[in-house]
Subunit: 332 residues, 2 copies
């Protein structure tokens, strides 16, 4: 039994090119006391991965050169020397991009695949969903009747942000790239409107979709879209900075929001979030979101890429090309 | 008895050129019931004036073309038909750039020149001081032992921000242009350090002056200085956006802070303030600050420009050239 894994070979400049990766086959080590051996079935493909590949101080240490690429995964316990797990258990954990992971049981979370399918625990009930939940509710603080705008509206985080904002009684306007994604946000996720940033005048279209202005903006993309929304915010607006996928592969310095003085004029706030800060409250949030899924108020759509572990490099690029709808996972 | 006043004749592009202004001599009208006639003695010269000259939605309506330029002033009541005022009272009000102003008594504030000199009511105990007070304490929320950085450190707002932060037990680091201003901030205002942005490597010098990073940054200047401080902030830092004097005369679109993703990495917050929102609490704040002035903890330095009302256009330009130290007022 061999383990195929993908290591980070070089730090990318711009897009992560194939040369950044090394595919390696190694033996699976014997597990020790308190460890479990997990067979990875699905890998979460996240924009944050691009940041983990960079050197320098961030909210989490960079992946080291030669180290297996960091990734959240969902899989099955094959062997356990930890009292809380037995072979056959479904679990999620930071498995890394590999077919088999050996982890201490304390870093592994047991999940119930009878309740929702395993990959949903990487999406709506995983980091993406938790990011949406805490970012919107704690930092965005939307009130019923307010207008919430979210970019990356058809993506893993944005789709959940919009649905939770609807549950909270807000007018929800998405921003997404292409007619198909916009249709998905409105027809399948229940957004009030969704603006295609690839066609027409974004500011004009967004202004029409937000006749009462923007109270909360949840930003996943950065760049010109953030700058445009800044011109439409209301007094005391809250801007949640969750990500900036438009900038992650930029070789030049990222573009700053030149309209940031709108924060002054409108006494508004722009605040960054990292989901890990809310770890003590994950359980409560997952329970509430699971309830919404059960009631049909929260859609758990997963975009499953095929091809196995070796397809990881090109699957990651799908994110930056905007080719996914909903949470992107790789089937291992 | 004639009133000399300065009207806005044209909206400036870039620096407010002499052609933007019209000097006019008019009769002083008879005052009506509840009105007072004020002889202006000092005019507050503020960076915000540049914004008031622009068209477009802001936190206050633009000065209209042909209208007397908006300004806060301090002076003496010459005649009163309002029960709360009598001739000889010292007052502050939005007098406009003119020698005599007719105002409803409800828009006039009586002050005591025996307590502090009249121009101090335009500075430390006026809008500049109130902006510093509320911006720092309510939005910045500094805690004892934290590091507070303030730009425009020798200016009307920055000098008060730093002194209040010292009163609250913080390490205070200023940023100012030129050796003389930095010396003033450290030696006369009691800052722990002050970095001259005109010499050497700002980031390196600032990093040395803030060995524990930056917890609160009070920004009066915007541009590259804001962008540099963003690279030095701590977890959960608060950035108060009070102004952006480096950008007010920009003809091109202002430069956005390209390092804004530091807000994400550090779960930090950037928030705009406008002092008018705190109007209901001015009285309490002025009382507290007056106490600090009386105790010698808060310096009320005023930079008095001479030349009378006709010197207003060039006095305003002193601000943008960075030629003032402390609150700039024009003696009328």
């Amino acid at each position: 039994m061999k383990n195929t894994r993908i290591n980070l070979l070089a730090r990318p400049i711009g897009n992560p090119a194939p040369e950044c990766w090394e595919i390696e086959e190694v033996d699976i080590p014997e597990i020790e006391e308190n460890q479990v051996l997990i067979q990875t079935q699905y890998l979460s493909i996240d924009p944050a991965m691009r940041g983990w590949m960079n050197e320098g101080k961030s909210y989490i240490r960079p992946v080291r050169i030669g180290e297996v690429m960091r990734a959240l995964g969902a899989g099955i316990v094959v062997e356990s020397k930890h009292p809380d797990f037995k072979a056959g258990d479904s679990v999620t954990a930071t498995t890394g991009v590999q077919e088999y992971a050996v982890l201490n049981g304390k870093d592994v979370i047991k999940v119930d695949p009878a309740f929702v399918p395993l990959p949903v625990y990487l999406g709506t009930l995983g980091m993406s969903g938790l990011t949406a939940y805490f970012g919107l509710l704690e930092t965005g603080q939307p009130k019923a009747g307010e207008t919430v705008v979210v970019s990356g509206a058809a993506g893993a985080v944005g789709s959940v942000v919009g649905q939770i904002a609807k549950i909270k009684g807000c007018r929800v306007v998405g921003i997404a790239g292409g007619e198909e994604k916009c249709k998905y946000a409105v027809e399948e996720l229940g957004f009030d409107a969704c603006v295609d940033y690839k066609t027409g005048d974004l500011r004009k279209n967004l202004k029409e979709a937000c006749p009462d202005g923007v109270d909360v903006y949840f930003d996943n993309v950065g760049g010109e879209i953030l700058d445009t929304v800044l011109t439409l915010i209301n007094l005391k607006a809250r801007i949640v900075i969750c990500g900036a996928i438009s900038q992650y592969n930029a070789i030049q310095k990222p573009v700053g929001p030149s309209n940031y003085l709108s924060l002054l004029v409108n006494r508004a706030r722009m605040e960054g979030i990292v989901v890990f800060d809310n770890a003590p409250n994950y359980g409560k949030a997952i329970k509430e979101m699971a309830g919404w899924v059960a009631q049909g108020k929260l859609n758990g759509k997963v975009d499953i890429a095929e091809g196995g572990i070796r397809a990881f490099p090109e699957t990651l690029m799908k994110l930056f090309k905007g080719e996914n709808t909903g949470k992107l996972v790789l089937k291992v």
